[in-house]
Symmetry: C2
Subunit: 590 residues, 2 copies
């Protein structure tokens, strides 16, 4: 009997809480994406190009074989398992065991399809618990609430909007398993998942009630903030219930009022709970479809936008202070490692009032290390920065008033002509996207080439997306919009915040990425229709010293000079005078 | 009993032969797109933005009402018919009569869906014939064949490739109703349809035979070319049969050898024949899917590419001779009308050896008339060109060695600043797309913004696609690739020929379009992957006299100068010296 244990959680979030790091516990592999399959005579880890080197290192001696994905010769797990590798008795069906709580419906469907339906799927929720001594519990960090002045829209308004959606769909309840959707609807935040300020829970919204399945065994009675939050939510009519009770509710064993038809998004609800729902009393009246929350959540309201602007001002001060300090230390001959640099930046952010952690693990990468787009800076023994070549830092903060995500690549001394040319071409693409004006209805994939064209013209490219949605004091990666080489037809809308982060990666040489966050905004209407464009939220200068100026068009040069001037203007009043002076020199026009 | 009669043919081609101009015969409307619906108390024509003005004029006094499509308030025919406009007796189903030969399956499905299945569809093939005295017969023009030296690949090779496709699909026959697909497979051409050098027919390819349903009642026994063509095809194993016999074959009443499973593309097979097939002896073994021919046909072989290059050389000489003559006549004070100009260009093309007609009706439009992207130049009373402003000419030829499609917009004298700026911005977009380099796998919709960005930045736009595929001595519009604001994921491949035709249209003022044909070609491989780019096939200078030079980037200016220089270099040796001299001045670098 083979089985597979994916890097996923019951709530489908990007970063798993320690309890759900099943692949890491079993295999030692710490990459952010990887599925494990164990048969009677084989153990394999499936992961993509980003993690090949890491997987080879971390799997050494484990006997677990690396199966490469996102390569032409890829054999996905369902195809591999159904290709005759299983030793099955005559006339018996092969059996695949899964942890249905941590498995999506589409993945299981793909498995069944690969076997042409001739397979037994055995769902063993929390399969690892009997083996995993000391398995971490379901996380239970303090729960905070955001006031209407912080969130811009009350939970009552949001629940009312969801009920209107239910009426349109002819349903009288919706079950939400997605943690960032729940946080947005209820205006709650926590720290149950690293980098994602969410509360592990489920939410059922009915026509006259809201049932929040959130209380864990370890709920600390002395946690005043959480108690206050639960009290506030109860006062607003949200029933605060035990996390485990959700299964009973799905099975129809608890009282949630008159519910005759429930709406769920099977792309976020896990396999186990979807099956429970389908086999329960509501099984015949389940309506499936995409959740309405991600699109609404992606369009930030005025309060959220103001908060994001404030977050970028604070974040920009931290970034400039960091870059100043780094340059000063390097030129003074100090031995600064990648980890030292990351620590000093993290420390600067942590002093900002309202800071609630980083929005992801800081990528601090020098020279050839930056050629790994998802380089994980080791805590000890990381590379020491030298006064030459390029240093890349990709980082962001969570603040109670917003979320940031910024990448700067800076020269630490002399750079090669190729570094300078690559730096300039990536910056051209970054600027061309930032300058875009486009008709309402345009999707990110229809703009993506603007960020790539300067590189493509020189037959260079980068292998990741150009832009992802960013949450408001929520996940740094969110949908439904993006800017990449796909066919995602979601139009960009005023209020959406998306990153603009082209790059280039040359193995053994260097890596470059320039990233700002862009706020989509209304640019007015004329005879040709309704126009949209971008406001750059991020405030941190671009180093111009290594730019190959003749590669810039006039419009690009003007944008760059205006951007650096506005960075100086906005940040310098809040910087110590010696850093303001340093920044003034950095922001001199090209 | 209402009924609808669409502007379509049994073969789904773009231009209908006179026999199938049913909407025109019934309503007087001559636009290229329009569906007619007649109920017991209403007659309506559904057509899109391009044809509103034309429809209003042509429907005057007919009592037929215009229903607008491609507008926000659009009510499509199925929704309109199912909205209660029909007077149906209690307990009876509404009945919609259609000419199933001229109706696609998707359209009928949409109708049935709109009624929630509660509708009778009555198929009356050739419904109009009893009413339409003197209805033109199925066209029957001479049939020519292309030798392997002209087509680059023999019909045997193409049939062999189709049989391999059938094996992969587990079928042993494929029915092709598309005229350009048949022309490509059999290496035959005709002139059954205006502008499209095709032969009205059906083709059935089996594992050991090919059955061509083509002979019409009016088959002229004295037509030696057709007789020779039929002989050649028979010698190659193609059975040449009567056109009408296809229905007998579908009903299983004729001998086509062992056929157990037939493959059809329901997006091109008409409703009537698809139903006949489904209810016949093969009804249970019909496999549906897209035809493999369009993609293969779109990727031109070396002989076709050489032919296309030759066609553009000949066509360029005609274009330059035309533009020289036009400028000379206008500056001499001669009164040249739009129709005169079109006639002189058509005459120049018709003298080219191998000419087989135009590839579409020449659009010759002066001043505000050019603001209609699909302006149809009236045969009499067309506008007279004056020595000021812009003149647009969009035209193309069919030659036995290739097909052309070119638009030039030229100043006839002083132009306004807005005309000059629009002219330059459209040219920038045209050039930016022509200069594109992109990784293999990129689709046209992922490049489209390159042609729009210069306009968008100035909040201007155009409402049509940027590029369409072009056939080899076949239809000037062909798929499956295109370059437009859609989500068509078909990648551009080396050998595909696509137009590059951004524009701008200002009602009452002017219209501008710049169009060349681009051949997609291999640009080599490097560390970043496989690269593709474009070779411009069209040879005709761009007028630089009204360009706002400071709006061009250096790269755009260099491209323009190099293009004009190559036009002069390629064409001047074959032009009379006075025209060559004139062209030299036109091609002077900006």
């Amino acid at each position: 009997m083979p089985w597979l244990s994916p890097e996923a959680t019951p709530h489908g979030s990007e970063y798993p809480a320690p309890r759900w790091k099943q692949v890491e516990w079993l295999s030692g592999f710490t990459g952010e994406a990887g599925d494990l399959v164990i048969t009677m005579d084989h153990a394999g880890l499936w992961t993509d190009t980003r993690y090949f080197i890491q997987a080879i290192n971390e799997l050494q001696g484990s006997g677990i074989e690396l199966h490469k994905t996102r390569v032409p010769e890829e054999v996905p797990i369902p195809q591999w398992l159904s290709s005759g590798v299983l030793d099955v008795e005559e006339d018996a069906l092969p059996t695949v065991a899964i942890d249905g709580l941590c498995q999506g419906n589409a993945a299981v469907d793909a498995m069944v399809d690969a076997f042409g339906g001739e397979v037994n799927i055995v769902d063993v929720p929390d399969m690892l618990s009997p083996l995993w001594t000391g398995r971490p519990p379901v996380p239970s960090s303090p729960v905070m609430t955001l006031g209407d002045d912080q969130a811009g829209e009350s939970r009552e308004q949001k629940l009312r909007w969801m009920r209107k959606f239910l009426i349109r769909k002819g349903c009288d309840a919706i079950l939400i398993p997605s943690l960032d959707e729940i946080a947005w609807i209820l205006n709650v935040r926590g720290s149950d998942v690293e980098y994602n300020p969410v509360v592990v829970s489920y939410l059922l919204v009915t026509m006259d009630g809201a049932f929040w399945y959130v209380k864990k065994d370890g709920f600390p009675s002395g946690d005043q903030e959480t108690s206050d939050s639960y009290y506030e939510l109860s006062a607003d009519g949200v029933r605060v219930l035990r996390y485990d009770e959700v299964s009973l509710m799905l099975a129809g064993l608890t009282e949630v009022g008159e519910v005759e038809s429930v709406y769920v998004d099977p792309s976020t609800l896990n396999y186990n709970m979807f099956r429970t729902l389908l086999s329960g009393p509501l099984g015949n009246s389940v309506v499936t479809g995409p959740s309405p929350v991600p699109l609404r959540k992606a369009v930030k309201n005025a309060v959220e936008i103001d908060g994001m602007r404030e977050a970028h001002l604070e974040d920009g001060i931290a970034m400039e202070t960091f870059l100043y300090g780094l340059e000063t230390r390097i030129s003074a001959g100090e031995a600064v490692s990648e980890a030292d640099a990351a620590a000093s930046l993290d420390a600067l952010r942590s002093r900002i009032p309202g800071y609630r952690g980083n929005s992801f693990k800081t990528i601090s990468a020098y020279g050839p290390n930056a050629a790994l787009p998802h380089y994980s800076t080791p805590e000890s023994g990381s590379a020491v920065l030298r006064p030459e070549g390029l240093y890349l830092v990709d980082s962001g903060g969570q603040y109670i008033f917003g979320t940031t995500d910024i990448t700067r690549t800076v020269p630490l001394g002399p750079c090669s002509p190729l570094e300078r040319e690559d730096y300039t071409l990536v910056l051209k693409g970054h600027i061309d996207l930032a300058m875009a004006v486009f008709p309402k209805g345009t999707a990110g994939c229809q703009l993506d080439v603007l960020a790539r064209n300067p590189l493509w013209r020189a037959k260079r490219n980068f292998g990741h997306g150009t832009g992802h949605g960013v949450g408001f004091f929520l996940c740094v990666h969110e949908g439904p919009q993006d800017i990449r080489q796909n066919f995602n037809s979601t139009p960009l809308l005023p209020g959406m915040i998306t990153s603009d982060e082209p790059g280039i990666y040359r193995e053994g040489l260097h890596g470059i990425r320039h990233e700002n966050l862009l706020l989509c905004r209304d640019e007015g209407r004329n005879d040709f229709g309704q126009w949209l464009g971008f406001e750059t939220l991020t405030l941190c200068h671009y180093d111009t010293s290594i730019i190959v100026a003749e590669l810039l068009t006039d419009a690009e040069r003007d944008w760059l000079n205006a951007y650096n001037a506005s960075v100086y203007e906005r940040l310098s009043p809040r910087l110590p005078s010696h850093i303001a002076l340093w920044l003034k020199a950095k922001c001199r026009p090209v």
